[in-house]
């Protein structure tokens, strides 16, 4: 223990004598640790957000979108393939509890000169139940609104804040795309999605109103279906596919012009995507860390050369090979640890900053920080070993004569 403390003191004293070299080494590890923390925070944050988002979607929800997400037909090639009639056909399938069409668009919205540009979606009354969302005040869209093409709307918190400030919006009339709509309800706050989308910057209107009075179109952007229970979800998806193929009169050799996904498939796809993202980001920062490690190695190798006579002197004065090895190793440890601690602090700072300014989901956790710290120090020590070993194996006579 005494020797270890002495080694630390000697290392700090040597680092003090070679300030610039030590600073450069520290910088390399610092950047590595910093990017590791930031990247892991982004990657893991996205996954956590995704899980939350999927949980909010509900386990028994099936998503139907036009076009194909894979296969020969590229995504989005048939964006008008889903119609309101398809929704009715899906609703008739056994074990389907409810279905809601969704028609997404964007319109300028105004209330007494206050302007906003939220996402406006036409949906059915069942949408709220399927998405398990709650109202803060008022009511949601009802069947009567659908049948009578009522110009009513339910708004999210951001829209309420932008247009109405602290006033209760229910009962007020606002303009959506130049048409007057009555606010009948206010949704509870939902926050940001994993992609950074503000889920409170939304307005829901009856889908029939959207189709007839706003867009004049028959097709829909998506449909959400809720199963009675979460058992046999995949067979239910197959049933939906069969029904839709029939509705769309697709021949045997024709590909589906729609995509049916349940939460687990959707989750799998997104999980895989975020996992790849995390791995790529992690690899990127690990590469930075390796560069930092190689930097340390180079600088310590140069330092070993520069300090050859000092090493010879220490050996002449009684240092054993393991003392020299341990001294260089401890110097590497102090540099790596210093750089890693600084990197973790700066990395977390960047994460907080990015999270606050870009609304990215980031996971700032002690586990990420500790893991980054350990990885950075390990990389530093790995690259320190060679110069340290080289220094400890110097022949004292050659070292003393070194010019």
């Amino acid at each position: 223990m005494i020797k270890f403390v002495r080694n630390i003191k000697t290392a700090i004293s040597s680092i003090g004598s070679y300030k610039f070299q030590s600073f450069l080494s520290t910088l390399g590890i610092m950047f590595g640790a910093m990017s590791l923390v930031a990247m892991l925070s982004i990657g893991l944050g996205s996954r956590v957000a995704l899980v939350k988002q999927l949980e909010s979607l509900g386990e028994n929800v099936i998503i139907i979108i036009p076009g194909q997400m894979s296969g020969r037909t590229s995504f989005g090639s048939k964006q008008d393939s889903l119609k309101s009639d398809d929704v009715e056909a899906i609703e008739a399938i056994e074990n389907i509890k409810s279905v809601s069409p969704g028609i997404a668009s964007s319109f300028p919205v105004e209330y007494l000169g206050n302007k906003s540009k939220p996402e406006v979606t036409g949906v059915a009354p069942s949408f709220m139940e399927i998405r398990r969302w709650q109202l803060q005040e008022g009511r949601f869209i009802e069947d009567y609104d659908i049948d009578t093409l009522k110009k009513i709307c339910v708004i999210g918190q951001t829209v309420a804040r932008d247009l109405f400030f602290n006033i209760s919006p229910t009962g007020k009339s606002l303009s959506i795309g130049g048409k007057d709509f009555e606010v009948v309800g206010l949704l509870e706050p939902k926050g940001f999605s994993m992609s950074g989308r503000d889920q409170d910057n939304v307005i829901y209107i009856p889908f029939t109103t959207m189709q007839t009075k706003m867009l004049n179109q028959k097709h829909i952007s998506f449909a959400l279906a809720a199963a009675i229970d979460k058992k046999s979800m995949s067979s239910l998806c197959e049933n939906i596919k069969s029904v839709l193929r029939e509705c769309h009169r697709l021949g045997y050799y024709e590909d589906d012009d729609f995509t049916v996904m349940n939460q687990s498939e959707f989750s799998k796809q997104n999980e895989a995507m975020t996992r790849i993202m995390t791995i790529l980001l992690g690899l990127g920062s690990f590469t930075t860390l390796i560069s930092g490690g190689i930097g340390i190695m180079n600088i310590l190798l140069a330092s070993t050369r520069e300090r050859t006579r000092e090493i010879g002197l220490r050996i002449a004065l009684g240092a054993r090979r393991k003392d020299v090895l341990s001294q260089f190793f401890t110097e590497g440890l102090v540099i790596s640890l210093g750089g890693a601690v600084m990197g973790v602090i700066v990395g977390n700072g960047i994460s907080v900053l990015v999270s606050a300014t870009l609304n990215w989901s980031m996971l700032i956790s002690p586990i990420v920080s500790t893991a980054s710290l350990l990885i950075s120090v390990s990389v530093g020590l790995f690259f320190v070993y060679w110069p340290a070993r080289k220094a400890s194996r110097l022949n004292p006579i050659d070292a003393l004569k070194y010019e």
Partner: protein, 229 residues
């Protein structure tokens, strides 16, 4: 003098690198002696000092250091002996000091590898600096000292562990006549206090400070005279 008093005993020591450097050295240096090894360049002076200082191993022959056969010692035992029993003073002393460190940190360097408790280090350093006459410089940095003062620090460092023998390689090589004489006076005083000294030099006026002069030529001892100031 008998073996009991012998600190360095060499019997037919040979050392070859690409060609023979030492061709059969027989030497017996006793405790308390002040010996100068004199010889021209290439005579094997430095090689013999490296072997004496346990930095190098002879190719053949027998070397007893303080009664121990160095051929049978492990690397760690050799390092321990260097640390506790040998004090080194190098020729180009300015190359063998930690320039960016303080006088204190330079002097205590051998103690870092010893078992001496840390709280004793400063006092020991002050005592040795006192012995070489620069006690007041303990907190100075090496780059604030003159050449003579730096060499005194090197001597104090060599003395810090109270070694059995002081090995000095051209200790006045880089000093002017006045400073050289001052260093030799320190050597004489230390020797009178019982410190054994082996000094390599090519300068006859420095060699005469020693009580015994061993002359090397082409890797062999060609003269061994007891004649000092």
């Amino acid at each position: 003098m008998g073996d009991v008093m012998s600190i360095i005993k060499m019997k037919d020591i040979k050392k070859s690198y690409s060609e023979p450097v030492l061709k059969g050295i027989n030497l017996n240096i006793c405790k308390g002696e002040f010996v100068a090894i004199i010889g021209a360049s290439g005579s094997g002076k430095s090689t013999i000092l490296n072997i004496m200082g346990l930095l190098d191993i002879p190719t053949s022959g027998e070397y007893l250091f303080d009664g121990a056969n160095i051929m049978k010692m492990t690397e760690d035992e050799l390092a321990n002996a260097r640390n506790k029993k040998i004090g080194f003073i190098f020729q180009s002393f300015e190359k063998f000091i930690l320039k960016k460190s303080s006088v204190l940190n330079n002097i205590i360097l051998p103690l870092v590898y010893s078992d001496v408790p840390e709280h004793k280090w400063r006092q020991m350093a002050e005592d040795k600096l006192n012995a070489v006459g620069i006690k007041n410089k303990i907190n100075n940095y090496m780059n604030q000292l003159s050449g003579g003062e730096a060499q005194r620090v090197a001597i104090a460092r060599a003395l810090i562990n109270d070694p059995s023998v002081l090995l000095a390689d051209e200790p006045t090589g880089n000093l002017d006549t006045k400073r050289s004489a001052e260093i030799m006076e320190i050597f004489l005083r230390l020797n009178r206090q019982g410190v054994s000294i082996v000094m390599i030099t090519h300068e006859p006026h420095i060699a005469v400070y020693a009580s015994r002069q061993i002359i090397l030529k082409d890797g062999l001892v060609v003269g061994d005279e007891e004649d000092g100031l």
